[in-house]
């Protein structure tokens, strides 16, 4: 399914949700928002995971300087220019203001303030020590209480537990998708669709897996395998096409829209240890060590994770794996760490391409050239 059809179908889906009386809560795409809590409160969590273009970025300049993350700019642009294919954004009832990065705070605040969408706050600590985990729980309690006020009744532990299990199972299926040997663009389409629709999409995922198992989708043997890390490739973004046109194939999405999301699985032991449901969400936050929000050990974990994947891959497949660090221009987290990540991985013999870009059409040629040069080097 192409991106336009996806958005069109999703628009209808969301309208149906709305007709069922379900409220829509939107937020920037980050990996620490407790969508299970939103789901348990019978809200629909709408992750803004849409790539931008020149028009969307330009439209944000009434609110923010151009030296703001291109994704953040585009999110404002979506609300400001209201493109037809994003008409479903009119259905948003609440917006979560969170602090994955400071641009997340600014953009969410602007969307809430200037486009009259009531805000819900959910702030995430930067470290992962004992106090931070307790603070995370405070934020969960605070959000839970706000959702209960809106809903007019409590969120029962059973309801929350059920939602946690639902999302947990959904992520397990997504992990299976991750393992499939299919073209990266196809894999990403499925991941996009799944993460947009949420667990409602699970039957389609299972069907897709079944179909691939029965009728594998062959990949060109000439293509060079790529692990993509850094910033996500969002819906409506041509990055994956550029990589494939250059002869590459993304086999692992080590990003928000990808492994950061579906690797956050709570194990059965934790479910059985009679923890409060909110504690399970705290545990999930604690285990999300590959997310770029956290300090001070993000870099070490990230290097270890990529190295581990790389070594396993080369051992099993007997061929090189390329690593592209995708940097959306002016992204605080990924950009600041990019030179350190590259240096550390290259010290371990892993060649990395730091690929920085915004969403303007003009840089497409330059990006293609850089990708092709990198893939050429992998021969």
């Amino acid at each position: 399914m192409d991106d336009l059809s996806l958005l069109s179908d999703f628009s209808l889906f969301l309208k149906e949700k709305k007709l069922e009386g379900i409220k829509i809560v939107a937020y920037l795409a980050h990996d620490n928002i407790p969508e299970e809590l939103l789901d348990a409160a019978e809200f629909f969590p709408l992750r803004l995971m849409f790539g931008g273009n020149d028009d969307l970025m330009d439209a944000s300049h009434d609110f923010l300087p151009p030296s703001t993350c291109a994704f953040a700019q585009s999110c404002i642009g979506l609300f400001s220019t209201k493109p037809n294919e994003f008409s479903f954004l009119e259905l948003v009832d609440y917006f979560i203001v969170s602090n994955h990065c400071v641009s997340d705070v600014c953009v969410s605040e602007i969307i809430s303030k200037y486009f009259n969408i009531p805000r819900l706050n959910f702030y995430v600590p930067y470290t992962k020590n004992e106090s931070s985990l307790k603070y995370f729980k405070l934020e969960l309690l605070n959000l839970k209480s706000k959702l209960e006020d809106i809903r007019g009744r409590e969120i029962a532990n059973e309801e929350l537990l059920e939602s946690i299990k639902k999302y947990n199972n959904f992520k397990k299926i997504l992990l299976e998708i991750n393992e499939l040997e299919i073209l990266g663009s196809k894999k990403l389409n499925v991941i996009h669709e799944a993460m947009l629709y949420g667990p409602d999409f699970q039957p389609d995922l299972e069907k897709f897996i079944q179909n691939v198992k029965e009728k594998p989708l062959p990949i060109s043997e000439k293509s060079k395998d790529i692990l993509i890390t850094g910033c996500s490739i969002f819906i409506n973004d041509n990055m994956v096409d550029l990589i494939e046109e250059g002869g590459g194939n993304i086999i692992f999405f080590d990003t928000w829209i990808g492994n950061h999301y579906y690797s956050q699985i709570i194990d059965d032991n934790s479910f059985n240890s009679e923890k409060e449901p909110l504690d399970l969400l705290v545990l999930k936050f604690k285990n999300n060590v590959y997310g770029d929000h956290s300090v001070p050990n993000f870099l070490e974990y990230k290097v270890a994770q990529i190295e581990n994947y790389y070594q396993n891959y080369t051992k099993i497949k007997g061929k090189k794996l390329g690593v592209i660090n995708h940097i959306i221009k002016f992204c605080d987290h990924i950009s600041l760490m990019s030179s350190f990540l590259k240096d550390k991985l290259q010290e371990k013999g892993i060649q990395v391409l730091n690929l920085e870009r915004d969403y303007s059409r003009a840089n497409r040629g330059q990006l293609s050239t850089r990708i092709e040069a990198y893939l050429e080097m992998m021969k």
Binding site: L64, P125, N129, H333, S339
Partner: protein, 451 residues
């Protein structure tokens, strides 16, 4: 610059603060190698725990060798024999006699202090970029990376306090990649004061104190912490008095450009108190006294007809020529970043209270009501400050690459127009000295509004 220099020699405390800033390297070398003290890198005014622990906090740029005007070196040497007051009085006396050569020397000293600091900042900026930080980040971060790349290996630890700026927090994380040696001591400030967040922050501070104990091998008592807070409170009191009683008043103890220069110097040095809290306290208390004394004697300048232009933010990088330009155009530039961010609030020191908890409350207050966890709160801080200073206008330095503070400008402009009804303008800033002509034009157009 001669008028500025002429004024500054009247303030021996300013010479002392400038001298201590520029001669930090020798002082720090002595502390580290001869006295075996531990050096701790700090950024922003978060040096309290390092002082309380008996370590030497240092804003890393001060580990560099500065090209100090040789006469300031002579003054420094003379002051160690005769005392700073005597030296300053002598300079004033010579100046009044009209001995031109000596006057030129003094002019040169003061001009050099400001220029040398700015040149060093720009040098750090270049080193930062050469060592891999993207040029897309703000001036402050690029310079900080440069400082750590060039001198960070000399410190024993880095005190890392998280704030709302995600780039800053990631920069803090990158410090251990830049230099593996120094111990990293973290204080994570919860983003909001909800539930028992103060208690959690107190725990984080207590853990940081333990890290300091491990670093020094000494136990840190509550009394030690309180004693430092007392010194810090005296610094803050004088700093606040200078901001509110003097900079917002209609009679200045010197011309407004000199005054701004002094405020800029305070803003830079407040981050680490020039590595010696008691000495800094004495200097700033003496500065306030000197200023009041001059005002009492009617020495200085009536500035009642000069519009008060609140220039902010400056702590992450700003164009130091701006206050001269404003002065030449008939205005006066007011700087008060640390007060705006609530980092000049005093910390209670009563014997029965828990100093770690008091410090937690201080940090949380700065986070909640100063820096703010969102732009709505941050813009309220700007409004409050402009109101308290009775500002006639505001110039906002919009740092290229700053995603935290600069991003609030559109919201701030709207609020200022609605609630304060004073003119405001934004000036884009990337690097010191880079676009002075453009800035002159902007400030010129802005100052036209007051004619």
């Amino acid at each position: 610059m001669s008028l500025i220099a002429d004024e500054i020699i009247q303030f021996s405390s300013v010479l002392r603060i400038a001298y201590n800033l520029l001669t930090g390297r020798n002082y720090l070398k002595r502390k580290k190698f001869r006295e075996k003290e531990k050096l701790v890198a700090v950024t922003l005014p978060f040096s309290d725990l390092a002082f309380a622990a008996g370590t030497i906090p240092v804003f890393p740029i001060r580990m560099h060798q500065f090209e100090i005007n040789k006469y300031l070196t002579y003054l420094g040497s003379a002051s160690s024999i005769f005392g700073w007051d005597t030296v300053s009085n002598f300079l004033g006396f010579v100046r009044n006699l009209g001995i031109e050569d000596v006057s030129k020397l003094v002019d040169g000293i003061i001009e050099d202090v400001i220029d040398v600091i700015n040149k060093k900042y720009n040098e750090m900026y270049d080193i930062g970029i050469e060592n891999g930080i993207s040029s897309d980040f703000c001036y402050g971060l690029k310079s900080l990376v440069g400082m750590h790349v060039s001198k960070g290996s000399n410190v024993d630890a880095c005190l890392n306090v998280t704030i709302r700026c995600s780039a800053y927090n990631k920069y803090l994380e990158s410090l251990k990649a830049i230099n593996q040696g120094p111990k990293q001591i973290w204080i994570d400030i919860p983003p909001r004061n909800i539930g028992n967040a103060i208690e959690l922050l107190t725990d984080n501070i207590t853990n940081a104190i333990k890290d300091f104990e491990n670093l020094t091998g000494n136990t840190i008592t509550d009394n030690q912490i309180r004693e430092h807070f007392k010194i810090g409170n005296q610094v803050k009191r004088s700093y606040k008095n200078i901001i509110y009683d003097i900079s917002a008043s209609d009679f200045y103890p010197c011309n407004p450009a000199t005054f701004s220069e002094i405020m800029a110097l305070l803003s830079i040095t407040y981050q680490d108190y020039n590595s010696n809290a008691t000495r800094y306290r004495d200097n700033i208390v003496s500065l306030e006294k000197e200023m009041r004394e001059r005002i009492r004697k009617g020495i200085g300048m009536d500035v009642s007809n000069m519009p008060r232009i609140f220039v902010t933010p400056m702590f992450g990088g700003w164009e130091p020529k701006s206050h001269e330009i404003i002065y030449e155009l008939g205005g006066r530039a007011l700087y008060a970043d640390w007060e705006l961010l609530q980092l000049l609030e005093e910390i209670p020191t009563s014997p029965n209270s828990n100093p770690a908890e008091n410090y937690a409350r201080f940090l949380m207050n700065a986070t909640e009501t100063g820096i703010g966890c969102d732009n709505d709160k941050l813009t309220e801080s700007y409004l409050r400050m402009a109101r308290d200073l009775n500002a006639d206008g505001m110039i906002f330095f919009q740092l290229f690459g700053c995603h935290s503070i600069s991003n609030c400008y559109s919201m701030l402009r709207e609020k200022i127009r609605r609630e304060l009804e004073i003119p405001t303008t934004a000036i884009t800033f990337n690097k010191i000295g880079e676009s002075i002509d453009q800035m002159k034009t902007r400030i010129g157009a802005f100052m036209e509004m007051f004619n």
